[in-house]
Symmetry: C2
């Protein structure tokens, strides 16, 4: 089982560095110190390897996210939890965050995109439901859940990418500022 994890780890590093399509299986197995049949034994195909990679990281994260969006009547608090969850995720495994961003922005016909799509959709649904539950407190939100989820995710990814590119650093302050900006706009 150790070879399996080596393959996942090296595949993540290579995919994140140069992209899914640009990295060949030969390069992955060489980095992992094994040969091709080993990879095909565990994952069946290059795509299967990608799917396993996504599941291993997104699986646990989605459970975190599901806990973070749990509404307790305090939307501002939930927003902080959610944003913090994404930031922690990106900080813990920056390579994976980069990879999944690249995969999601990839063309819809690209095979890599089809693999991430379900994960993104589930997360979007979780976020939208958080806003939907807040409707009780903020009646004027009605019908805007999806757009709010969209904008929040867009801001988070935009901020995270800036950090990954070295233009900023992760901090509690950054989380607060993002949430504050999202909540009250730029004129306050």
């Amino acid at each position: 089982m150790e070879n399996r994890e080596q393959l996942l780890a090296q595949a993540l590093a290579l995919f994140a560095a140069r992209g899914y399509d640009a990295v060949g299986v030969q390069e992955i197995v060489a980095a992992a110190g094994v040969t091709k049949p080993t990879l095909y034994h565990y994952f069946g195909s290059k795509r299967g390897l990608l799917e396993a990679l996504l599941e291993s990281h997104f699986g646990p994260f989605e459970r975190n996210l599901a806990a973070a969006v749990t509404h307790t009547g305090d939307l501002p608090l939930a927003l902080m939890r959610v944003t913090q969850a994404y930031f922690t995720f990106a900080q813990t495994t920056p390579a994976f965050y980069r990879l999944h961003l690249a995969l999601y922005m990839a063309p819809s016909e690209a095979e890599a995109r089809q693999v991430v799509s379900p994960y993104y959709l589930r997360q979007h649904t979780l976020l939208a439901e958080m806003f939907a539950q807040a409707t009780t407190q903020h009646g004027n939100m009605r019908g805007r859940h999806a757009r709010y989820a969209l904008a929040l995710r867009g801001m988070i990814d935009s901020y995270v990418l800036a950090v990954l590119d070295g233009y900023a650093a992760f901090s509690e302050t950054l989380v607060y500022e993002l949430v504050h900006q999202f909540s009250h706009g730029i004129y306050s």
Copy 2:
């Protein structure tokens, strides 16, 4: 010169549909109805083709954007102009918008990313300067120009992607709602 434009058009369609790395030059020249030496005559390399493609679309757009950010003492108006400029761009050439999103989110070591990076940086600078000029009117913005530019771009791309994926439609209303949300947050 007609072959040159055919190559650019077909390359855009293919890159946008399946990704830069996944599309071979053979496929491009076949779609354009020419052969490989023609492509290499005009562009020198696959990367050169990508560079020409980006310049041909981003060049004109950056001039539009530069006009849109021109500050006239009315930041809300400038925000509307900027957002509208991006939406119009995405609506006019959706394939190119998809492609450039994919390229920018690609890993920094990926050759495709290096080609888009300068364009994205210039656009970010233009946006940040717009917010900087608004400091006169809104003193509390000081030091936040970069983050505002980041968040605005993130929201725009997030919205545009949703439209390109068929979850929404371009409209004046959508532009207004985006700008309003960006300006005043979700509690208004």
